[in-house]
Amino acid sequence: MAGTASAGAICVAGCSCRSSSRWEFLSDAQAETLAALADQIIPEDDFPSASQAGVIVYIDRQLMGPYRRHRDAYQAGFESADRISREFCGVALAQAPPPIRQEVTSALAEQRSDFFELAREHIMEGYYGSPRHGGNRDAVSWRMLGLEEPPLRGRAKYDLSKGAGS
């Protein structure tokens, strides 16, 4: 109990200097922009869209880890996406109506192809990769593809009784 309390006290102090966003790296506005972009690349049909499947969670977590090096690219990309959207309809990408989002995404792919390709690659990773990384919630894309997961297989049949070289 004392441990909880002291840790909690430290935790509260530690949190006070952090942003109030529910994301680990992204701001709420950036997450909305990314969701709007991701849902243009993988929209909802019989199966969830990219954002519904947790792709934003995936990218947010990776930007705190192995993809730290892409933080600047994302920051600049979000600004570009919102700028293009404002040129089209006067509002940021997340607030734009669906047909405009599609046009903005196409324009972004032309004007900022480096960012678009990077984001698209990460969106695909998040949607089709392992759920353990935050995306592909409930292995939804694997079910969509008809993949058997976890695979049904009996006890491993590898006979190692004669040693590794046999």
Binding site: G3, V12, R22
Partner: protein
């Protein structure tokens, strides 16, 4: 001069005592306040750390929503300080989950509410300990231990097989080398139950009576060690299994998907008739126990109870009301009556004993 030194010393000591006293009072107040803050809100305090927020939200729509975080999870100083260190460092895990030692601790927490289920599970084969599974001489002398064993036994253990048992050879004696694990279960509650799974708190009437067929528990799920996550039972596949070239009829009871996650057939051995003729996975291969013969098409749960796998008195579920050959089925020469029998109860056929032709059942002979 001497008296002045003593006076200064007294003042210093008094000051130190005063500071220490004030510090103690502040610490006590902080501890008391923080304790109240974290334990009184059923997780709201825990969700204050944003990486915990999703987990806490999940619990609040789960069948365990009425249970507080601290009813199940460790409140030890070491655990909490580790959480704080991870939080402040920013080196966050991709998925928040219990460590293997925490899973072991959880079993007792489950027991505190689920007494009956714990008792039946404890009495059954799925409560087998690490020592029972991994130091089994009959198994280990025939086949070398490997990491794949953890897929179904000890799926929450995070290390390689060598960190659990030694030696990794066909010659024993084998011993559990991971401290504190020898007497712990290899298939704890979380192997088949997703504690944070979305669902409604169970009530006894719905647990026992259903007009919509077999009740599928909302928490039923298989913990996949490779992906480090649970797969809900509805998402698990029921396999297509063959008896030679013939597709075997399998009960549509989806609960069986949990059994098949481990009691699965395996591809035909190279060179076998099934492999040469491309017949598909065969019933009875690997650890598969898909019923054939007189029991083909019935669910695992028609005979096995959920937690203890107990089959006592299960024959009476169907015999003689639904199936009656006029014999006392429990006393027939099968593994039900005698584990040493050559007629496995899962695959027994009338022809196994009636080699010269199966006689007509008594009730059909009499025209009933």
């Amino acid at each position: 001069m001497e008296g002045r030194k003593v006076s200064i010393m007294k003042r210093v000591l008094l000051l130190v005592a005063l500071v220490a006293g004030i510090s103690l009072i502040c610490a006590a107040g902080a501890i008391g306040g923080a304790t109240y803050y974290y334990t009184s809100q059923r997780g709201a305090g825990c969700a204050g750390c944003h990486e915990m927020a999703d987990t806490v939200c999940t619990v609040h729509v789960s069948s365990h929503r009425t249970v507080g975080c601290f009813d199940c999870h460790s409140t030890g100083l070491a655990t909490k300080l580790r959480h704080v260190a991870v939080h402040l460092s920013g080196r966050l895990p991709e998925v928040i989950r219990l460590r293997d030692v925490n899973v072991v601790e959880m079993t007792a927490k489950c027991q505190s509410c689920h007494q009956r289920e714990y008792a039946t599970w404890s009495a059954g084969p799925h409560s087998a300990t690490y020592a029972q599974i991994f130091t089994n001489a009959q198994q280990n002398a025939a086949r070398r231990l490997m990491d794949d064993c953890f897929r179904c036994h000890g799926m929450h253990f995070s290390g390689p097989i060598g960190e659990m048992v030694q030696p990794l050879s066909l010659e024993g004696p084998w011993r559990i080398v991971r401290a504190g694990f020898a007497a712990e279960p290899t298939m704890p509650c979380q192997a088949c139950h997703w504690i944070h799974r979305e669902g409604l708190p169970a009530t006894k009437p719905t647990a026992h009576f259903s007009v919509a067929g077999a009740r599928v528990g909302e928490s039923l799920a298989f913990f996949d060690r490779r992906e480090q996550m649970h797969f809900a039972i509805a998402e698990l596949p029921l396999p297509q299994i063959f008896d030679g070239p013939r597709p075997v009829g399998i009960s549509p009871d989806q609960r069986q998907a949990l059994c098949y996650a481990c009691h699965a057939p395996r591809p035909p051995e190279a060179g076998s008739a099934a492999a040469r003729r491309n017949w598909g996975v065969q019933a009875g291969s690997g650890d598969d126990r898909t019923p054939l013969g007189v029991h083909e098409g019935i669910s695992c749960f028609a005979c096995h109870s959920g937690h203890g796998e107990d089959t006592r008195a299960s024959c009476a579920t169907c015999h003689p009301a639904m199936s009656d050959c006029g014999q006392a089925v429990e006393k027939m020469d099968t593994t039900y009556a005698n584990p040493a029998s050559k007629h496995n109860i899962h695959w027994v056929k009338c022809e196994d004993c009636h080699t010269r032709g199966v006689p007509k059942p008594l009730h059909r002979r009499s025209g009933l």
